[in-house]
């Protein structure tokens, strides 16, 4: 038999496509063993057949494999579904078991923190109000101290004036328009200085001012103006004068007048 004819007869294709009976298959195999050309042609046909098959490959759904391996009682390493589930569950449980402790601890810390914050805030507000109270008290005391100190200073300076030698004290008594009014002139004849104690004079209105007059040879001489307000502790230093027979105080327009308004004379005192 011609080998080329044999190869071209289609029998190799029939062999590869599994069309032949076992007898015919054995014959093809023996021909292939005898003739290298047949063997080569058979191998080439098989390669083509397999390449053709491979060209049409379509990936089978993975559940075919799972089912197949389950049915065969084999382990499917690429798809260990059940194993993963069995293992994954405890891991999940572990995570679920541990997480609440952390969150509970965190919550507890947060709650303690909030409580402490509120407590310290109230403490702080308390301290703050007490401090401002103390500051106010302190300021009040300081003011009172200043008042007392001023008074003490004034008394001290008053005392200085009064202790000097050659002092003539003249009491000015209230006239008809102010019977209760009273003033004292401390006149140092040596130095000619004149100090006025107006502690018992009524307060003057804002637009008017008291004016002290000295009567010298029957005529009034301006000794300066003053206001009566507050405690009037300090002695008011007036203008100096060498000779005088009397002192008087009238209420004049603010700034004083050249001549006294006689109807508005409050107090007068003879020397």
């Amino acid at each position: 038999m011609n080998i080329e004819e044999y190869i071209s007869s289609g029998i190799l294709e029939a062999y590869i496509f599994d069309e032949l009976s076992e007898t015919d298959r054995a014959e093809v195999r023996s021909m292939a063993e005898k003739y290298p050309e047949v063997k080569l042609a058979l191998e080439e046909t098989e390669e083509t057949f397999l390449a053709f098959t491979a060209k049409g490959a379509i990936e089978a759904p993975s559940d075919v494999k799972s089912k197949l391996f389950t049915d065969l009682g084999l382990e499917d390493s690429s798809n260990p579904k059940q194993d993963a589930n069995v293992k994954a569950l405890p891991v999940e449980k572990k995570a679920n078991g541990f997480y609440p402790y952390i969150s509970a601890a965190a919550s507890l810390v947060a709650i303690i923190g909030i409580v402490l914050a509120l407590y310290y805030r109230s403490q702080w507000l308390d301290s703050e109000s007490r401090i401002s109270e103390l500051i106010t008290q302190n300021q009040t005391i300081a003011q009172q101290y200043n008042v007392v100190k001023n008074q003490a200073d004034q008394y001290a300076s008053n005392l200085e004036v009064l202790r000097k030698p050659g002092l003539e004290t003249v009491e000015l008594k209230g006239l008809d328009i102010a019977p209760d009014a009273n003033a004292i002139v401390h006149w140092n004849k040596k130095s000619s200085e004149v100090f006025l104690n107006a502690k018992k004079m009524p307060s003057n209105p804002d637009d008017l001012q008291y004016q002290l007059w000295a009567i010298v040879e029957g005529k009034p001489v301006d000794m300066g103006v003053f206001d009566v307000a507050g405690d009037m502790t300090s002695l008011i230093k007036m203008k100096s004068i060498k000779n005088a027979s009397a002192f008087a105080v009238t209420l004049e327009p603010r700034g004083g007048s050249i001549n006294p308004t006689m109807e508005q004379m409050y107090v007068i005192g003879q020397i």
Binding site: S9, L50, F52, T53, I58, V64
Partner: protein, 158 residues
């Protein structure tokens, strides 16, 4: 077994799906083929051919048996691979259409008469003499066409 499955299931599924045409049936056949292969692996004789070829032919025979069984026969009567292509392309559009098209593209490059013989042999499971009888083609012509179809395919594929 896993090696066999991972290496050959794609090729075998492609063969089966082209023959039985529906994924559901194809998956069933693929499953049965591997069960059969597993059970008959001891009867496989490496001297008689390659394992791969053996598996492909088990798949082809199982698929052809399936479509020739009465229940399937009644439902599916389409005969040409072109129809199969349509089904496959749509059934596997998302994942495997490129591979599917690959094979059909190769087939489309064959002359009509050669393609017909290969389709009948490969996908219908007809023997060469069955094709000759069925389609009134001289047996010698069928044989020559089978031979040159495989040669042309070899040129296209290898």
């Amino acid at each position: 077994m896993e090696y066999l499955y991972d290496n050959y299931s794609g090729a075998l599924y492609g063969v089966i799906l082209r023959i039985v045409k529906t994924e559901e049936v194809a998956q069933e056949v693929l499953h049965d083929v591997f069960i059969k292969a597993w059970n008959q692996i001891s009867s496989y004789n490496s001297e008689k051919g390659r394992l791969y070829t053996w598996l492909v032919n088990i798949s082809r025979n199982a698929s052809i048996d399936k479509i020739r069984s009465k229940e399937i026969k009644k439902t599916y009567k389409t005969d040409s691979v072109a129809d199969n292509v349509y089904v496959i392309d749509h059934a596997n559009f998302d994942t495997q259409s490129i591979d599917g098209i690959g094979l059909e593209k190769v087939l489309a490059q064959l002359p009509e008469d050669l393609r017909f013989v290969i389709e009948q042999m490969y996908f219908k499971g007809y023997t060469q003499s069955e094709i000759a009888d069925e389609f009134n083609i001289p047996l010698g012509t069928v044989k020559t066409r089978a031979r040159s179809a495989m040669k042309t395919l070899r040129g296209l594929l290898l």
